[in-house]
Amino acid sequence: MDFLRPASWEEALAVKAEHPTAVPIAGGTDVMVEINFDHRRPEYLMDLTRIGDLYEWEVGDDTVRLGASVPYAQIMEHLRPELPGLALASHTVASPQIRNRGGVGGNLGTASPAGDAHPALLAAGAEVEVESVRGSRRIPIDGFYTGVKRNALAPDELIRAVHVKKADGPQQYSKVGTRNAMVIAVCAFGLALHPETRTVRTGIGSAAPTPIRAKAAEDFLNAALEEGGFWDNGKIVTPSVAKQFADLCAAACNPIDDVRGTASYRRHAVGVMARRTLTWTWESYRGAHRTTEGAA
């Protein structure tokens, strides 16, 4: 195995063009596990830790540009007001040691359905900035996940950053694991209210071959909120609406039985999390009038 250490982003792109099989490594929290267990034996390992730009973030007027290697611990500490859903998701990632190393770029690169960041990115609405020597492009998050542990990257492309819309309303994130910390998701759910566009977005993790949105559930809820004038009158979402939303979220799942849980449980749990996160975000919206508070 050759270990490549590009000193700059441009050099990294050149290396990736020359060796499309090179596996990029930053925090190493996914890649090193695979290598240590001999599940993967890449010909080239490309270390991105010398590229400082990947560890930086910028808060713009509408979006946050989050460098691919910004560790979860930094997101939790510095970006909670702008990215409350992602900050909550970051809290659930593994252990403090891993949160100091791992970042969203790795989660996207691995594209595991169980990656903790995905439901939050789907709910918030994100674009993945990828680049190769051929040029740069932005992939909307909805089209990023293409299969189990597969994504829309071309072989010569690298993930540079993620552009996430700044929260314009409450966001929530819940994850079910079978212990109270340091656990891989049995399933996860992200919800974001977007009062500016009067829409709700969702994200579901570990309950389908890829991270997904519950589109039918979103459509139903958007229509119900619009119809009842809820965005303006701030009324409580009726239990029947919340229940139907939850049922539609559960129905959006296409889970499997595995050692971590049954398909039937995953569907059930996604429904419960959908109902609860809707209640929390809507209460927050009603109570604080368009604050972006999402903290638990």
């Binding site: 240590n36 267990f37 001999d38 909550l88 809290h91 659930t92 929530q172 994130y173 819940s174 994850k175 079910v176 694991g177 079978t178 212990r179 109270n180 910390a181 340091m182 656990v183 891989i184 049995v186 050692v259 971590r260 849980g261 049954t262 039937s264 449980y265 569907r267 059930h268 749990a269 419960v272 999390m273 609860r276 209640t279 929390w280 903290a295 638990a296």
Partner: protein
């Protein structure tokens, strides 16, 4: 020797007296928490090679062929060995029954069985070479449970049994069967006003020690080998290793390396023989370290069990009878299965007085992973079931569950179902009273002015509830564990104690073969020597086979038995020192001849407190040394038909109260508090006692709500051999554990002490289950409980 990481002498001085009853700090504690402690996996030797084991990818198959040519041709590879390369007549080992081949021969009987071994100059080279060994299997049907094991046409897991249990078992796929029959259950059933029945399932728990199996074998000039190894019992290993190497025992030297936890999982051999074989074959030191994945295949687990119980009681809550059938899955090799059967059956009714009992316990041979010793050893599985039954009975009688237990609690003098009287304090009712009397943790602790503190809620930082669906439940349980090896085993330990003057100070050296696996034995040994010999400085010699056997670090026995041996040796040393004093100085003071003399503060003193001499002066240049074996009172085997017999020597009792909060919609559990009361006889080191109780309690919690090795019932393959999917409690899963320690002396034991390490593991699990049942109203007849069991989505 150019070797790193091998054990050195630990000298413990404290400036304080540091005798028994004090919470002296453990000498390895700071090293361990700062990462400085040398574990067996840290050892290094100049020119050493790395060993790797190739394991079976299927659970049950004939081996058609093994082709090692490509592996042998790999640059950097020094040796590849299979069964055919074994050097001696003896090619099997085993704790009680030699049924385990050192390397598979003709067939493999479980997933992950060792088939071949490789030595290479780099661990990765060894790993890749092992992967190049081609093994052709012809798969056989898998035996996975009692039905498939005892079916008329069942394939025999072991075809030609000639072990000492083979004659009395009803089927060759049953390792051992022990009935315990006392009184007349049929007649007693007629007196019962209520009868409750239950069928329970106990999942396969792993010891999950953090230091993986590892050791270093160094060939020696005389053709022997020196093995530095993390184990629980050096001499038991030695007895199994030497014959397979074709060496006399005195040519196999063993030294205990740093052990990172054991919990029973190091009673059986793992890589010991493999490392020695490769070292002797190559003439070079060979180190083997399992990774976590391999560790799950490299040691036995706790027996999973099916338990069928019937309890009867009169309307006023007195037990009339207990009938039980306990089926333990021993997996492919016997390991400690027979003794686990003995415990499960003899302790199968729990710490209760009941005259009419009919119990049958068996262990199966199957193609599941081998199971053997783990903390609690058969008593754990039974406790889970009989305590669930006691709650069921209380509910049926409309009686408080603690009250029901207290009405039936055994006490000193009660006869066990084996007919053996309990001949030391058995404060079962008192422990329940104490644990119930502890203050309850406040309700809704998650509520704060800032909103819900999710760390206090089920789901923790995963943020699944802010209080929705959360219901509290409280449950109680109590258990009984035997201490020491039972059923007529000659359970002894050996201690060598030396006293001499070093650097102008009297120093005691304690040399035993006791495996310090984290339990704190080395701390307690020094305390005993200080108390008995009146010195401050005590040196603990590394444990090795240059001294006699200490027996196993298991069965809660080491403080009792090796502690007892040290106490005994110290007493003999003291006599010799006083004799020396009388000889040298006796003429200077009449008290030498007439008074009761003690050693205290480095001096010889009379029982009236008068100082006669300094130990430095008594000893001068002489060293006084004693090596002696010491044994607890003998026990007897259980009768094979009735189970009657004085099989046990001592008992350990603990009671728990569990307070849990369950998110009833998501099926997530937060254990809020696990209060424990335990009788320890005498706390030699109170801090260590509390640590043991808290650790045992937590291990019991683990198997209540998360810990289980999952085996595919159609292939018998292990599905979750990693810490990603075999979950053990984190600190956020570990509740507050208030501990109430009771000290009622057992007059038969040194200092009145009781073995303590296992009892808290018994009652913790059923207490948590009882609390979850109370919170949810569900029956919950299996452990661990997973979210799907609490939400009807299994």
């Amino acid at each position: 020797m150019p070797t790193n990481g091998v054990p050195t002498k630990i000298t413990q001085g404290s400036g304080t007296k540091g005798g028994i009853g004090e919470s002296t700090l453990r000498p390895d504690g700071t090293l361990k928490v700062t990462g400085e402690f040398a574990y067996s996996s840290d050892m290094w030797h100049e020119d050493m090679l790395w060993g790797q084991i190739l394991r079976s990818t299927v659970a049950h198959a004939e081996i058609v062929s093994i082709d090692t040519a490509e592996a042998l041709a790999t640059p950097g590879v020094y040796a590849v060995m299979t069964y055919d390369d074994l050097p001696a007549e003896v090619k099997h080992y085993g704790l009680e029954i030699r049924d385990t081949p050192v390397l598979a021969h003709g067939k493999v009987r479980h997933h992950g069985e060792p088939v071949a071994i490789v030595a290479a100059d780099h661990p990765e080279t060894a790993r890749r070479a092992a992967a190049k060994i081609r093994v052709e299997y012809r798969e056989l049907p898998v035996i996975t449970d009692e039905a498939s094991a005892t079916a008329p046409d069942a394939v025999l897991v072991h075809e030609h049994r000639d072990d000492h249990h083979a004659g009395h078992v009803p089927h060759p796929n049953i390792v051992h069967r022990q009935p315990i029959v006392r009184g007349d259950v049929a007649a007693a059933r007629g007196r019962a006003d209520v009868i409750v029945e239950g069928e329970y399932t106990f999942g396969m728990q792993d010891q999950a020690f953090l230091g993986p199996e590892s050791g270093l074998a160094v060939p020696e000039e005389d053709g022997g080998v020196h093995l530095y190894i993390a184990t629980q019992w050096l001499h038991s290993d030695l007895r199994q290793i030497a014959p397979v190497l074709g060496l006399p025992e005195d040519k196999v030297r063993m030294t205990l390396a740093g052990v990172g936890g054991a919990f029973g999982g190091r009673e059986d051999l793992s890589m010991q023989i493999h490392a020695c074989l490769l070292a002797l074959r190559t003439g070079k030191p060979v180190k083997i370290v399992y990774n976590r994945f391999e560790s799950f295949f490299g040691h036995v687990h706790r027996h999973p069990a099916k338990l069928y119980y019937e309890h009867g009681a009169t309307a006023d809550g007195k037990l009339t009878h207990v009938k039980a059938r306990i089926v333990l899955d021993g997996g492919a090799y016997a390991s400690a299965s027979p003794a686990v059967v003995g415990n499960a059956s003899s302790l199968g009714v729990g710490p209760y007085a009941v005259d009419d009992v009919d119990i049958e316990a068996i262990a199966l041979y199957t193609n599941n992973p081998p199971c053997g010793a783990m903390r609690g050893f058969g008593a754990v599985q039974a406790c889970f079931a009989y305590e669930a039954q006691m709650d069921k009975l209380a509910a049926r009688l409309g009686m408080d569950p603690v009250e029901l237990r207290q009405r039936n609690a055994m006490e000193q003098g009660t006869l066990l179902p084996t007919g053996q009287p309990v001949d030391s304090p058995a404060p079962v009712a008192e422990l329940l009273r104490r644990v119930k009397a502890m203050p309850m943790p406040p309700e809704r602790q998650w509520e704060s002015s800032e909103g819900a503190d999710v760390r206090q809620l089920p789901g923790g930082l995963s943020n699944t509830t802010h209080g929705e669906g959360v219901v509290r439940g409280v449950g109680y349980a109590v258990g009984i564990k035997n201490v020491g090896f039972s059923e007529g085993f000659d359970d002894y330990s050996t201690a060598r104690v030396r006293m001499e003057v070093v650097g102008g100070e009297p120093v005691a050296t304690v040399h035993t073969a006791m495996a310090e696996v984290g339990q704190g034995g080395v701390t307690v040994h020094a305390q005993i020597a200080r108390t008995e010999l009146g010195v401050t400085q005590v040196t603990i010699h590394p444990a090795d086979t240059r001294v006699g056997s200490a027996g196993s670090t298991s069965a809660s026995r080491q403080t009792y038995v090796t502690g007892g041996a040290i106490k005994h040796a110290c007493e003999l040393v003291r006599e010799k020192v006083l004799e020396l004093g009388r000889r040298k100085l006796g003429s200077y003071h009449p008290a030498w001849a007439h008074a009761e003399l003690l050693l205290e503060g480095g001096k010889v003193v009379t029982d009236g407190g008068e100082v006669l001499a300094d130990l430095v002066d008594v000893l001068g240049d002489e060293a006084v040394e004693v090596e002696e074996e010491w044994r607890h009172r003998p026990t007897e085997p259980f009768d094979l038909r009735t189970g009657q017999g004085n099989g046990h020597v001592q008992y350990s009792f603990a009671a728990h109260r569990a307070v849990v909060e369950v998110d009833t919609e998501l099926g997530l559990v937060k254990v809020i508090e696990l209060a424990c009361a335990q009788d320890v006889g005498k706390a030699l080191n109170p801090l260590s006692v509390v640590g043991q109780i808290q650790g045992g309690t937590t291990q019991g919690l683990g198997v209540a709500v998360m810990e289980e090795i999952l085996v595919d019932p159609t292939t018998a393959k292990v599905r979750n051999p990693s810490f990603t999917d075999y979950l053990i409690p984190t600190i956020l899963d570990t509740p507050t554990i208030p501990v109430d320690v009771l000290e009622l002396a057992d007059d038969h034991a040194p200092y009145g002490l009781r073995g303590i390490g296992e009892a808290p593991t018994l009652s913790s699990t059923p207490a948590v289950l009882a609390a979850i049942r109370a919170a949810t109203g569900l029956e919950l007849n299996r452990t661990p409980v997973r979210p799907e069991h609490l939400t009807g989505t299994a």
